[in-house]
Structures are given as C-alpha cells and as structure tokens.
Subunit: 353 residues, 2 copies
Amino acid sequence: SEEQPATISLAVIPGDGIGPEVTAEAVKVLEKATAAGSVTFELTEYELGAEHWLATGETLPDATLEAIKQHDAILFGAVGAAPGDTAIPSGLIERELLLKLRFSLDHYVNLRPSRLYPGVESPLGNPGEVDFIVVREGTEGPYAGNGGVLREGTPQEIATEVSLNTAHGVERVVRDAFRRASARPRRKLTLVHKHNVLVNAGRLWKRTVEKVAEEFPEVTHDYLHVDAATIFMVSDPSRFDVIVTDNLFGDIITDLAAAITGGIGLAASGNLNMDRTYPSMFEPVHGSAPDIAGQQKADPTAAILSAALMLRHLGFEAEAGRVEDAVAADIAARTGARRSTAEVGDAIAAAVS
Amino acid sequence: SEEQPATISLAVIPGDGIGPEVTAEAVKVLEKATAAGSVTFELTEYELGAEHWLATGETLPDATLEAIKQHDAILFGAVGAAPGDTAIPSGLIERELLLKLRFSLDHYVNLRPSRLYPGVESPLGNPGEVDFIVVREGTEGPYAGNGGVLREGTPQEIATEVSLNTAHGVERVVRDAFRRASARPRRKLTLVHKHNVLVNAGRLWKRTVEKVAEEFPEVTHDYLHVDAATIFMVSDPSRFDVIVTDNLFGDIITDLAAAITGGIGLAASGNLNMDRTYPSMFEPVHGSAPDIAGQQKADPTAAILSAALMLRHLGFEAEAGRVEDAVAADIAARTGARRSTAEVGDAIAAAVS
Ligand SMILES: CC(C)[C@H](C(=O)O)[C@@H](O)C(=O)O
Ligand SMILES: CC(C)[C@H](C(=O)O)[C@@H](O)C(=O)O
C-alpha cells in the first residue's frame, strides 16, 4: 500500500490488571511481524486506567486525549477496577476512559471477528465451521450516556436510559458492514435488532439496511431479533457471515460469540474510525481480570489478534496475515499444558514467518 | 389450598400459527390432571391475533380486555404474523395484543424456568445440571413504548428509545425473585444488568437488590453484566439458580436459556401478577411459527409446561407436579421418531398419574 507512511506512530494504553501483560506480548509479535522493515512502529505509552485514577484522580485529561489524537493508531490493553473495589465509582473508568475514547475518536465501527480456530474447544457439542464478523455500532444507541434519575433513593424514584439513534450513525455503520460482506465469500449480512418492540430505532435500522442493500445487490441480507440471534448463535452459528447491530446488542452477542469460539481469551476487536479523522483503537474483548493480574496467567492471544486487526486496518495485509497464521499454528499445537503469558507471546512471535 | 375456588374461570387465547394446536394439547393435559375433581376449569375462548386483526382490524378492544380481566387466569398460545407478511404492520400484534395484555394486567413477574430434562439434547457439549429460573421484569424498562422519531426518513433523522425504570417496578420484582430464591435449595440470586454503561437504571437495580437482600439473609446474591451472563450461560449454566433482570435483558437471556436446554419447543413461561389484582397469563416462550402452522408438527410441550406453571400459580401444586412428571417421563422416552402435536399431547395426558 504505497501511501502508507514507513513509520507508524502508535499510542499504547496498557491499562489495568492483565492489560500490561497481554499488551507487551502484542507489541512483541507486532515488532517481529514487521521486522523485515516494511514499517516501523514508534511507541508512546500512556498511563491510564483504574490505577492511574487512584493515583491522580484523572481518567482521560483533555491534553492526553489531544495527544492521543495525534497518533496513527492505538493499542489498548484492558481497564477497569476489581469487581469488589469500592474506592472507584462503578463503571467510571469504563465510561470516562474506554467509552470516552470510542466516542471522542468517532469509532463508529466496532469490529469483532468470531472464528473457531481448528484445535480450539467450543462449549458447543457440534459447532460446525464458525467464521463470522460482528459490526457493532460504536458511537450511539443506549451507550450515548443519555438518561437520568428523579427522586433518587425514594420509593418514587424513576430512572431512564435513552437510546439515541441517528440516520447518520446508522447509515455509515450499515454501509461499512455491507462493504465487508461484499468482500467475503458468502456475501451475507444479518441485521440484529428488536424492531417489534424498539419500534423507533428498529424502523430506522431496518429502513437503512433496505436502502443501503440496493448499493450491494451481490449481498443477501436477512433479519433476526436479538433474542432469536442468541438461539442461532448456539444452535447454528455457521449461519452467520456478517452481523450488523447496535451498540448494546453488539456488546451482548459478541461476548456470546466469543464464548462459543473458545472464550474471550481469543476474541479480538477493532474500534474503527473508517473516515480516518482520528486514530482507530485495537483491544482484546476481555477485561482487566484483576484476579489473575501480574501472574503471567493471562492468554495474550486476543491482544495479539487485535494487533493483527490493526496491521490490516493500516494497510499491512501481508503482515496481518502472518500474525494470524502464527496464531492459528500456535493454537493448533496447544496441548493444554500451562504456559505463561510471555511464553505464549514468544511462541507466536517465533511462529511469525 | 383451602381458599381456592373449586371452579377456575379460564380465558383461552389460542392466537395464530401453531398457537391453536399447542393450546389444544395444553387444555387436554390440564383436564386430565384435574379430572379427579380437585378443580374444574371453565373455558372461554377469545379469538385474537394476526388473523383476527386481518379480519376485523381489532387487536385488543377495550371490552375484550375488560372481559379477560374477569377470569382467574389466561392460557395464551402464540401470536404474530408470518415474517414476510406485509399486510400487518411489523410488531403490531406483539405490541397491541401480547405486550398490551402484559402491561394492562400488570404482569410484573415474567417467570421463565430453564431446566435441562434428562434425555433432552443440549447444543452444549457438556452442559452439566441446568435448573434455574429467570425472573424477568414484565411491565417497564425498554418495553415501556417510550421514545420517538424526529425528521423520519431524512438524513437528519433521530430515533429514540427510552427505558423507564421505577423504584416501585424494580423493587416488587426483585423481592419476588428473592422469595423464589429463598424457597429453592441453592438459595442464590444473580442480578443481570449492565450498570457500568446504563448507570441510571443500573444504580436503581443494584441498590434495590442490596436493600431487599437484607430481608433475605439466607439468600446469597451476586451480579453479572448481561454480556458476561451470556458467556456463563454456555460455559457454566449450572452456576445459575435464580436470575433477576430487566425486561429486555430477560427477553434475550431467556431465549438463550431455552436454546441450551433443548430449544424453545420446551420453554414455558408465566406472566404473573403476584398481587392478583388481575389474572396471570401462561404462554410458551416460542412464537407462532407460521411456517409449520396447521400441520401438527409443533411440539406442544412448552404450552403444556406453561399450563403446569398455571396450576402451581393457582395453588394446585400436586396437579402441577403431576403434569411436570408426565412431561419428564415423556421426554425421557422420546426416541426421535416424529409424532404429531396431538400424539405428544395424548402421550403426556396418558402419563399424568
Ligand atoms: C467495559 C464495557 C464498557 C465494554 C462495553 O460495554 O462496550 C465491554 O463490555 C466491551 O464489550 O468492550
Ligand atoms: C413477541 C415479543 C414481543 C416477546 C418479547 O419480546 O417479550 C417475545 O420475544 C417473548 O419473549 O415473549
């Protein structure tokens, strides 16, 4: 890809818990995959997350956000306090750091591939071939942070959550999903929503899919209610090729999708700004897992696969493929013997051809 | 139960598609289970649903709703137009009939048991023992029908969905769930929500669970984000005993729960008004399945188990148990040979001791 800079300026946000450990392995593999010199990564590390908040009271200062905006891409580990933690207001780090990055950087495509790698055990008895992607809207819906509380703590309390859905927001993510479907062998797109109940948002999503479908006559499309989609996810996951869905439904079904393809230890994601007005961000779907942090117990595969998504997004298709092949080879050779986080990273780095 | 009337006035709404077929079998088994004379059911059938709307333009007229309110309980089949149907506005029957009944009759406990019967195949390779109940809130949340559209059909369209959550609504369903947990051997309650993102509603739900928990010191409780709950549903469903959750999350996870316990052909539900100000309603979780309607292909087991839930709700515990035992015996003896809807109903009725 001729227009790519030879140097990529990369913001690295290792975060909390197992974040730093898995991110270190992703960087290791990234450097191995690009050692031939096609591209060099210049890394700038940002200390952010629950630990940082406890030390400084900062979640994501404006100046830091501005600095992050200057990079070409972001590698993100994981953030979040331990479940029992009471010093940190619940969800604060997730909202004020992770979601703030997704929203401020206009990451409207939250891309989450689900593939059952040969050799990986699925909780499904007979999963068949599983290889689909979820295109989750990333900048609106029930995640807009809209809503409020009246008479909090009284018997008359009312609490609302407002899902905001715009033609602009829905159309761009739907078009992205059709583009991806068009480039895949099966060329099939499934809209997942709940339009029989959420009629206002549902009508917008359905109408938009019908409209954009006309630009992609080669793509077949269908519709599933989110409840029915979870049934197919366990009874016939092979039916899925590209799923497009809203922010909350996407959150739910991608965790389920990760579960049926071997667990969130393997699930990668990209928070993509497809207009490239701001850097995209790549992160494992898993959280910070404070219970096993610092013990070299975490599987860095999801972080490594997220780095591969980054390579592809930046135009380094061959390098991305080499990382994914190395991961597939490593997974196929797994014996069940315990390896440290660094050992898995070393093995995958060594397998990068 | 000494205060029960000897005669139960039952509204029967067979509905569309396979609804009439499965409801007929539920009535058959109900009559067999109560033939000894503990109680007689007086049936009044109401013609409602997509077919009725096409013929009359009526969904649920006020007078019909008033008449239904006079009964002691409601047996509901299934409603809904065929997916490709364009004569019926999408979701109309679901909202104006099914949801209208749930809301008008204040069915605040949507009870959905999930049990993996011996002999039933699960899509999970190693499901373990699965026996939990979901207490889904039934009268508010994102189902409140609140929200709107501005500038519909233009590039400036905005569509909203408003989730309404009240202290009144949350507290009564949470207390019901604790009561049920307290009466079960494992005495464990799990709140499923997404309080790190849906902070307003999330705070209300969490605070309410903490508060009501003090009345039930014998019940242990924990919390799962809805995305994580779907993971456990396929990786470790035995961890669940009683789940309490909001209307939409409950819709999603109960379909998933049905899928892992052998499919929605077996999943029963009760829409309960625990204050008994209006009749409760019992319905299979499955839909009207227009593609197989009228062909005696539908499995009536879910409808029959819903009738068992009704018997229990009305105080006929022994009769409910006899129906459930008959179902369990029938399921255990299933060979995979195709039986008609009526044959399954006959077999279960015959097995009722
Ligand atoms: C941590 C949380 C805010 C986040 C989300 O809900 O999007 C996570 O679950 C995810 O899927 O990336
Ligand atoms: C038909 C639909 C409105 C309904 C719901 O969403 O509650 C159904 O999915 C259910 O779970 O009973």
